[in-house]
C-alpha cells in the first residue's frame, strides 16, 4: 500500500514538472514572437528616421500579432494557474467539464508535437464530482499520453463523458492501435496508484479503440464502478 502511495506521489511530481516545463517552453515561444515584434517595430522606426515610408498596414500586422500572442499567453497562464490551484485541497467538488478542458489545454502542446488532434465533446449536462483534482488531472494526462501514442494512423483522440447515478465515465476514443498493445502495457503501476487514490477504474475495449475511466461521484464514499 505504501509503495502505491509512493508511486502516486512520485508520478504527481513528475506530472507537475512535465506540465510546468511545457508551459514555460510555450511562454518562451510567445515571448520570442513578442520580442521579435518589438524588434521589427524598432526596424520600422529606423527606416522611418531614414525617410523611408512605412505602410500603416505593416504596423497593423505587428499590432495584431502582439495582441494574438498576449491572448495566447493569457490562456497558457490561466491553465498554469488552474494547475497550481488543483493542489489547494486534496479533495473538493470539481466540474468535470472544466477539468477535462484544463487537461486538454495542458496536453495541447504534447498533442501538437505528435501531430495528434484532441477533440473534446462535452455533453450538455456537467456533473460535479468530489475528487482529488490534481490526481484526476494527472490520471487524465496519463491516459491521454498513452492514447496519443496509440492513436494509430487516425491521429485523433476524442474525449467525452457521461454521468451515472454514482459515477462519471470519461470516454477516450480513437485509440486505433489499442489492439496492438498487450494488456500488460497499460495501465502501468503509475495509473494503478492514481486509480487507487481516486477510487476509479479503467476499462479498455481494444476492438472499439476505447478506454473508459470510471470515477466515483464522491471519492469519500465506497463506490461500485458502473460501466
Amino acid at each position: 500500500m505504501d509503495r502505491q502511495l509512493d508511486t502516486g506521489i512520485e508520478t504527481g511530481l513528475q506530472f507537475f514538472g512535465k506540465m510546468t516545463a511545457s508551459i514555460s517552453h510555450e511562454i518562451k515561444n510567445v515571448m520570442a514572437i513578442i520580442n521579435e515584434s518589438a524588434g521589427l517595430l524598432e526596424d520600422y522606426s529606423l527606416m522611418a528616421e531614414k525617410g523611408m515610408p512605412i505602410d500603416p498596414e505593416r504596423l497593423r500586422v505587428v499590432s495584431d500579432r502582439v495582441a494574438n500572442q498576449i491572448r495566447r499567453a493569457n490562456g497558457i497562464t490561466k491553465n498554469l494557474n488552474s494547475l497550481a490551484h488543483s493542489v489547494d485541497e486534496f479533495q473538493k467538488s470539481v466540474d468535470i467539464k472544466e477539468t477535462l478542458e484544463l487537461a486538454v489545454g495542458l496536453t495541447g502542446r504534447f498533442a501538437d508535437m505528435r501531430s495528434v488532434i484532441l477533440d473534446f465533446q462535452p455533453p450538455s449536462d456537467f456533473p460535479a464530482v468530489i475528487t482529488s483534482p490534481f490526481h484526476l488531472l494527472n490520471l487524465i494526462w496519463q491516459v491521454l499520453d498513452f492514447a496519443m501514442d496509440a492513436s494509430g494512423a487516425g491521429k485523433r483522440v476524442e474525449l467525452t463523458f457521461e454521468a451515472g447515478p454514482t459515477s462519471v465515465k470519461i470516454r477516450f476514443t480513437g485509440i486505433e492501435a489499442l489492439t496492438n498493445v498487450p494488456e500488460t502495457v497499460f495501465p502501468t503501476a503509475k495509473e494503478a496508484a492514481l486509480l487507487h487514490m481516486l477510487g476509479a477504474t479503467i476499462h479498455q475495449d481494444a476492438e472499439k479503440g476505447e478506454i473508459n475511466l470510471v470515477l466515483p461521484k464522491d471519492v469519500r464514499q465506497q463506490v461500485t464502478a458502473e460501466s
Binding site: A21, S24, M31, A32, I33, N35, E36, N68, Q69, D112
Partner: protein, 141 residues
C-alpha cells in the same frame, strides 16, 4: 549575402524573423516542417540552418543528425525555448555550430550567422585546396 534556412514550428516567429533578417541583407527561406527542411537542405546550398530544438514530426536533434549526415560541413545553429545542459552537450556532439535560447537577440544571432558563414567558407576553401593537392599529387605535375 548569407543564405539562411530557418526551421521553426511557430509560423508567426518565422514570418517576423524572415522579415527582419531580410532587412539585414540575408536571403531567408523558412519552413515549419523539419522533414521539408531536410529536403530543402539537400536541394539548395545554405550557409546556415537555424533550427528549433522542439518541433512536431521530428525532434530538433534528430533533424540536426540527419542534416549533418547528409552534409557534414553544414552550419547549424539551434534556437530553443529551453535548452537543458544535456541537450546542449548532445547538440554540440552532433555537430551544432551554436545554441541560442529564445527570445534571442537578433544582433547576437546575426553575429553567429556571420561567423558560421565564415566557418563554412573556410571549410569550402580547405576542401578545394585538398582537392587541388590531390589532383596535383595524382597527376605528378
Amino acid at each position: 549575402m548569407e543564405k539562411v534556412l530557418l526551421v521553426d514550428d511557430e509560423k508567426e516567429f518565422l514570418e517576423i524573423m524572415a522579415e527582419r533578417m531580410e532587412a539585414r541583407d540575408m536571403n531567408v527561406t523558412t519552413t515549419t516542417s523539419p522533414k521539408e527542411a531536410l529536403i530543402k537542405a539537400q536541394e539548395e546550398s545554405y550557409d546556415v540552418v537555424i533550427l528549433d530544438l522542439m518541433m512536431p514530426e521530428m525532434d530538433g536533434l534528430e533533424t540536426l543528425k540527419e542534416l549533418k549526415k547528409k552534409n557534414p560541413d553544414l552550419q547549424v545553429i539551434l534556437l530553443t525555448g529551453h535548452a537543458t545542459v544535456q541537450k546542449g552537450v548532445e547538440a554540440m556532439k552532433l555537430g551544432a555550430t551554436d545554441l541560442l535560447e529564445k527570445p534571442a537577440d537578433l544582433k547576437i544571432l546575426t553575429e553567429k550567422i556571420k561567423k558560421a558563414h565564415t566557418k563554412k567558407m573556410v571549410l569550402v576553401q580547405k576542401k578545394a585546396e585538398e582537392k587541388i593537392r590531390h589532383i596535383l599529387a595524382e597527376k605528378g605535375w
